[in-house]
Symmetry: C2
Subunit: 399 residues, 2 copies
């Protein structure tokens, strides 16, 4: 009898509503609202919070992440939310509907914080983003993240940078007051979106090997250091094909793939998780942002000799109407000429280009090949020389 122990969303959308049913059809017993207290590896039993023991032959961990918190007084007040699970989103939505929220503060400026800003603004809520750094989305080059910052400001988002937080107390004009080194800020809702870390509590208690990234170490079959314990998703590491290091990248598509690889191996069909190239994307209003590979800092840490260039070009041919600016940063290794990373922002056709470069990173292509790679040209989709060709040629001239 296989068990599923965790949260199952029952009331969200049609798709997730059918999840429990699907589990049962597959002969899986679902255990919710009853956490795991410990794992007794000697007896091969999972002990639940209520003391119930479930026997296992093979154990798979998908413990995901924990949200990081600023650690300030008042961060658990009513109206202060985290956004980690679908249930968090549903709770926030109910809160907004019930309280008639007029103003929101988003703490953090990663891509989840950006997406949350858009959601608030779209509901007509005045939104302030409060960030400890200078620019949002640290993964992207300052020139590119500045363009995204302009976009959120154009949409009315107030961006308050280089801010340290002191406490959250009751507000005067709005329900809550956030005290900071830049003075108090008030809002009816405060969303903490300051990132996540892998949830390895159970794995540590079991004495499983934790990698340098802080996530559970696994091999290409998603097996941990124990013969009969697997891990998949945000709680574990992935092999990065560019840096050739084991990293933790908590993203849904990677978790999906690892879950299938783990399940396949447990079920007896051998399968390998071939690793990642750090591809990710998000939309913020009408802008797309995407990246793949490593940053210059990650490249240098891995022992490469990174050189980079930011190129601004056109998403479509110059003769086509409409918005077309696209900023593309390429990072290459001075020693081998190999492409190491790519970051892009713009209003059109950004993600397709980063995916093209993700495939190039996957295959280990060199920057000089990208200057002449054959792409599907047509004026509505690119110039005869695509921004990829031009950016690659520009970087090559610098090398």
């Amino acid at each position: 009898m296989p068990y599923y122990i965790g949260d199952v969303i029952k009331d969200a959308r049609k798709l997730t509503a059918r999840t429990p049913e699907k589990f049962r059809e597959g002969g899986i017993e679902i255990i919710i609202d009853n956490g795991v207290a410990e794992v007794d590896e000697r007896r091969q039993e999972v002990i639940l919070a209520d003391g119930k023991a479930l026997p296992y032959d093979i154990l798979a961990l998908g413990t995901g992440t924990e949200a990081l918190r600023p650690g300030i007084p008042g961060e658990d007040r009513e109206g202060v939310f985290l956004l980690r699970k679908l249930t968090d989103a549903l709770t926030i939505k109910s809160y907004l509907e019930a309280t008639g929220c007029r103003r929101a503060i988003v703490i953090g400026a990663g891509f989840i914080a950006m997406e949350a800003c858009e959601a608030f603004v779209t509901r007509g809520i005045e939104t302030e983003m409060i960030h400890r750094g200078k620019l949002p989305v640290a993964r992207w080059d300052a020139e590119l993240s500045s363009a995204l910052l302009e976009e959120i400001k154009r949409r009315g988002v107030i961006f308050t940078s280089e801010t340290t937080l002191t406490s959250i107390v009751e507000g005067a004009a709005y329900r809550l007051r956030l005290n900071t080194n830049r003075g108090p800020r008030e809002a009816d809702i405060i969303l903490i979106a300051t990132g996540v870390r892998p949830d390895t509590r159970l794995a540590r208690a079991m004495g499983l090997t934790i990698g340098a990234s802080g996530a559970i170490a696994v091999n290409f079959s998603q097996r941990t250091c124990r013969e009969n314990v697997y891990a998949a998703g945000d709680c574990c590491e992935s092999y990065h094909r560019v840096s050739r290091r084991w990293v933790n990248i908590p993203l849904g598509d990677i978790a999906n793939k690892q879950g299938r690889v783990a399940g396949s191996n447990i079920g007896g069909t051998p399968r390998i998780f071939p690793g990642v190239v750090g591809a990710q994307s998000f939309r913020i209003f009408s802008w797309e942002a995407a990246a793949a590979g490593v940053t210059e800092r990650e490249a240098a840490t891995a022992g490469f000799h990174p050189i980079s260039d930011v190129f601004w070009g056109n998403a479509t041919a110059g003769s086509m109407p409409g918005p077309k600016k696209i900023g593309l940063k390429l990072i290459a290794d001075r020693a081998t000429g190999r492409l190491l990373g790519a970051q892009a922002v713009g209003e059109q056709r950004v993600v397709g280009r980063i995916n093209t470069l993700a495939a190039a990173l996957w295959a280990g292509l060199a920057i000089d090949e990208l200057g002449y790679i054959d792409l599907a040209y047509s004026p509505p989709f690119s110039g005869a020389w695509d921004v990829i060709h031009l950016a690659a040629q520009n970087l090559l001239r610098k090398m």
Copy 2:
């Protein structure tokens, strides 16, 4: 003194208007309205139509293509046009403006014919497409080209298939009448868009080697069989990295790249044209069509063992609003598992996916890698499993 002999557009757009000036700034003498009669290789002279002789050390041919014609009586009547050069487009535009054209016939159903249909319909002209085959754009699988056919019909284009042409005569209700095996059709303008072939007349007269494709044979430096004669663009062959054969693919982006490679080598900076993977795209109304690699027939001719599958999936995550259907055909080699070709149609994000697969084809990736390749996932841009992953996994199951 370098010479440029050919057409230079003087009155089209700002960009092209500046072309002669740019040539002169580069110290190039421009010769227009005076064709090449012959090349005297012994004396290293180009003889113009008016008898003038131009000496050369190195000769570069960029003779492009000739438009194919049906070869029927009346095909040179006023109101019957070819569409090969920018001047053709300008002449057609003037004709439409001057004559108040009400109805157009487009002969052919390749991507140029499709684009021409869109241009006519957008001007409010009733348009009929007349094709000898059953479906438009033969490169795309019937399932995909049928979707494009539905789109042009939805926009009011009349599509008449399996038609052979007899003659073009004066019309009654409209200016021209096209007689066919399916009866007469009338229109104020008839556009012949039945394809092109490389213009190798001069090359053949010089005795240059012509490849099996019918285009001028060149090496990776764009040099022909003669030490001091180069060729670039639609008139010559390209190395196809998938079929590993020399092919003729007349497309502007390839011509641009080859021209730069030829010029670079002539100028003393060694450069290689690394070949093509047959990437192409076009837009037809709100649909995108793109392809890369080889078709099953080309794959079989090259000695591969093609197997293919057409997969219909979503361009964005299922939870996102708006149109999302995308049809993706993948072709792989049964013997090696290598990806050989990809074709796609849909209303969103088609070209980016084909470019991703073009990079995969460029690098020679296998179909099983594409089932788990790391792409930049976010719901506005794809599902957690992208249509590329799903199509690859589907095809893999068939293999």
